[in-house]
Symmetry: C2
Subunit: 336 residues, 2 copies
């Protein structure tokens, strides 16, 4: 197994990317190809200690900037670390690609080069989230703002396979993000999607409301990319706002400062519990290869986890299982 | 000014409702009509101390249960405290109605009896939320799962008037809840809505993402009822999940227990900061009267605040300003 890592992408590239890859090398039986400027990468590798046998460097002369448009990156950055890394999956040289760089360009290249699995109408972003009872997957995290019911059906099937095969969750419970728990409540889209999902080969448990998604009742939460992205961002915003307000309060009181000192282990645990980097990233599900989209701010630990996510997905043969599953899906009525 | 209060609606009715109304009596120059079973209400009033001069009791022989369907309530509970209270607004006997009871029945009765303002296509729920820099309004909180751009335009105009007239926020910044900050990002609905809002007589600042809604950048966040409700519920769920996880952690460590004791004032402040009852409720905006929907779990303080919300809305002549504003709106293109 070979995993391609875009070593020039991300706010902390290449240093933290290289470190993360080297850390991951020690716990997976896969080759990791660091893609980017060979001199910079070799320097970063040797700086970090003895070179593991399963790391290789794949040269690429360009880098996609974080703010660059996807179209420009595709057109003018054919030898960018990102394009080369994605190209390795297209050419079946690598089984997976990981990048913490420009996610718009990454998604566009994955669509264009790696291509959707035949039968998959819309590849979608599955985000592995921390929850009160272990990880869960939200799909779609924002790739498709406007969806039809059949898209949500496929999202549920794809994420269910991912959970089972890569996260080791047997028979994951699948819910549709909706408003109101009862069947028949929600938008036209979610009502129709729930109907399709209840007839699909997944463990569909019905609607799930926004206040329950962290509770652990469902391991897969299905939404269109708009609602899904709103949910993700709100989770981030509330956690951040809460911390900010608390920090302000603590700063103003000696008593609270002492209390906060004593509570430090609790806060550290809380941070970890709600930290995206624990699970390492998001995946573009539904294309012919494993594409892991890291957070732009990823540090070595996040990259290590992101590569591990890719490793487990390849090991679990997620793509192959999706190909089979989509072939077995019943056709849906016209217009859905 | 007369404000009708459904004294039999809510998990803690009538006791906490009566207390909240009596507390509010002391700070508003309005009459408050407690609607419900006269014996029970008189008993609750006299139990709470001297009777203020501006409280009256309006008899109603029935009560709508929390789980009852709206249709059944409308058909069979014509003399319920809720129906009588809403009827007082329809008959222009009261300027506002407050209920913490069955919200589905309340919304249906408000639509049916009080009627939408002519020109308003879809009354919507405006939820006054606590934020890092003071209150802000999310509209629609869940009344309309499927919307067209023109609905979002009207939501923005209505909530803007409400902010200005009832919350005293001059020139409130209005944003459309979307994914991506740049103009042109989002769903078909939000992109079209943003275009309409940018030409409307409101202080429209563009898209706002889910992670920024608590930040105080916008005082009005416009969304369809589906995305709006998802955002509200996620806020609730994260805050709750966070507290639950922290409580679990604290229970397991003596050091953390001491720390938590010292931090108690901070936690108390945090709770208040994120507590819905600080602002007292949600409003159905766009009907010919002020309808304040309290939380089912409302205690006396929440009811006091909810009545105060109604009082300020009547005082600010919110309905009259909406009638004028909607009459001045430019017609929108066919199909939007």
């Amino acid at each position: 197994m070979l995993i391609a890592v875009d070593a020039m992408g991300g706010d902390r590239a290449p240093g933290e990317i290289v470190r993360g890859a080297l850390d991951c090398c020690r716990r997976v039986d896969a080759q990791i190809a660091l893609v980017g400027d060979p001199d910079a990468l070799e320097a970063a590798i040797s700086e970090y200690g003895p070179r593991p046998g399963n790391i290789v460097v794949k040269p690429a002369s360009q880098a996609v900037e974080m703010g660059e448009s996807a179209t420009a990156a595709i057109r003018y950055k054919r030898d960018s670390s990102l394009a080369v890394a994605v190209g390795m999956v297209r050419d079946q040289e690598a089984a997976a690609v990981v990048s913490a760089g420009n996610s718009g360009a990454f998604l566009a290249m994955a669509h264009l080069f790696v291509r959707p699995i035949p039968g998959i109408l819309r590849p979608a972003i599955g985000v592995v989230m921390p929850g009160l009872k272990g990880p869960w997957v939200l799909i779609d995290g924002g790739a498709n703002a406007d969806c039809r019911p059949v898209h949500l059906l496929q999202f549920g099937v794809m994420a269910s396979i991912y959970c089972e095969r890569a996260l080791g969750i047997a028979n994951p419970a699948v819910g549709v993000l909706s408003i109101g728990e009862e069947k028949g409540k929600g938008s036209e889209l979610t009502i129709a999607a729930a109907e399709l999902l209840s007839a699909a080969p997944v463990n569909f448990i019905g609607n799930i409301e926004g206040d329950r998604i962290l509770s652990g009742e469902t391991q897969v939460v299905v939404a269109d990319g708009f609602a899904g992205n709103v949910a993700l961002k709100v989770i981030e915003g509330v956690a951040h706002g809460w911390l900010e307000a608390m920090r302000e309060q603590i700063a103003g009181s000696f008593r609270a400062k002492v209390g906060a000192y004593l509570m430090r282990p609790v806060f550290r645990h809380m941070k970890q519990l709600f930290d995206y980097s624990t699970y390492g990233g998001a995946l573009l599900l539904g294309v012919n290869g494993i594409c892991v989209v890291g957070h732009g701010r990823s540090d070595a630990r996040a990259i290590d986890n992101a590569i591990h996510v890719a490793y487990r997905a390849v090991q679990g043969r997620v793509v192959e299982h999706m190909v089979t599953a989509v072939g077995e899906l019943q056709p849906v009525p016209e217009g859905k």
